[in-house]
Symmetry: C2
Subunit: 211 residues, 2 copies
């Protein structure tokens, strides 16, 4: 069984415990095994189905309670089986979803780290900083005195303060490419790299089990 998570920038496969990402320019392989997929990207979905018409859209097998209209299926899957927690998927966008008493009560969408960086660079070359600048310790307690610090400080604050405000005493589960990096700013957080695939498996299992 192959799992496939089609996002805004990459199509991610889980094949035999190995994860492989395919980007816009990459060719999608023909695969013989059963494929279960979720997608927030129509174009990339068509690309998958052209080579693999047998792939099954898992979205049709999910029961999920929310008043949110148009909640992306990746967010639905990430939030499935959760009780009282904030779920944060940090990719090109950072989705923040609040689960309360096993119910999704809403959420919001921050820009992702790379989106921030690209956007600063688009304003002016002088505002360009690279992701390697994040490796160093970022001092959020001192008011910045350099352009690079002024951007790093503002960028990180723009992401973490809205999360802190909504979080209150809840725990946080991070997933997504920048989830591990961001989780360092929250004591009450864990990082689950493969949360989406894990929950896709649980949804498939729940549908296969005799009821």
């Amino acid at each position: 069984m192959i799992l496939c998570d089609i996002g805004n920038t990459a199509t991610k496969f889980l094949i035999d415990k190995n994860i492989k990402n395919y980007y816009k320019k990459d060719k999608i392989p023909k695969l013989k095994d059963d494929i279960f997929y979720i997608s927030v990207n129509e174009k990339a979905t068509k690309k998958l189905l052209k080579k693999n018409p047998h792939a099954i859209n898992l979205a049709n097998f999910i029961n999920f309670e929310t008043s949110y209209i148009g909640l992306g299926v990746d967010r639905v899957v990430a939030c499935s089986f959760q009780e009282n927690v904030i779920i944060i998927d940090a990719g090109s966008a950072i989705t923040v979803d609040i689960m309360e008493n096993s119910k999704h009560i809403g959420g919001f969408i921050l820009l992702g780290l790379n989106s921030f960086l690209k956007s600063y660079e688009n304003i002016s070359k002088r505002l360009k900083i690279s992701k390697s600048d994040f490796e160093k310790n970022i001092n959020l307690d001192k008011i910045p005195l350099f352009t690079k610090d002024a951007i790093l400080y503002a960028l990180i604050k723009s992401i973490i303060l809205p999360i802190i405000e909504i979080c209150k005493d809840k725990n946080i589960i991070f997933t997504g490419g920048d989830g591990e990096f961001l989780s360092q700013f929250f004591e009450n957080s864990i990082y689950k790299k493969d949360l989406i695939f894990e929950n896709m498996k649980r949804i498939i299992d729940a549908n296969n089990s005799p009821s």
Copy 2:
């Protein structure tokens, strides 16, 4: 006397109390009067000087105390003559500068509203919202239940929370294209549309006065 403020996206003239913006594609006019300019944009500066070699760079006439390395001259001018206040210039980037006892003690650089909107749109068409969506009342007290609200909420929070955190009991002076819009979120704020030009005049006056 003509004043000229060369920014990242526009070259702004003050001629006879009228303000006129010139963008990348626009031709810069030949002007006979004295021109005093400040600039954070080398390319646009060259364009101005080609037609107006007599234009004078006001940056050479400013005394300003700060430990910040590489502070943009527009920020220097906006902060000049201020004592204990937060100065926020909300353009394609939003610069936030802290003045304490007439000294600049640092600052940071947030993305501007348009930069946020463009960046969301670049992630996915589904995340595109237009500036007219800001006209409606934005409810920041309710956890969003629609994609549009989820973006508006996150975008506004990403801008105002870092400002609130740094602000403490200080007053705020907003300037720049989105300054008036943003000032609505801060009770302790005023909007000064022409802060930069006003301060440029004061700097010229200070240099002309007998000492």
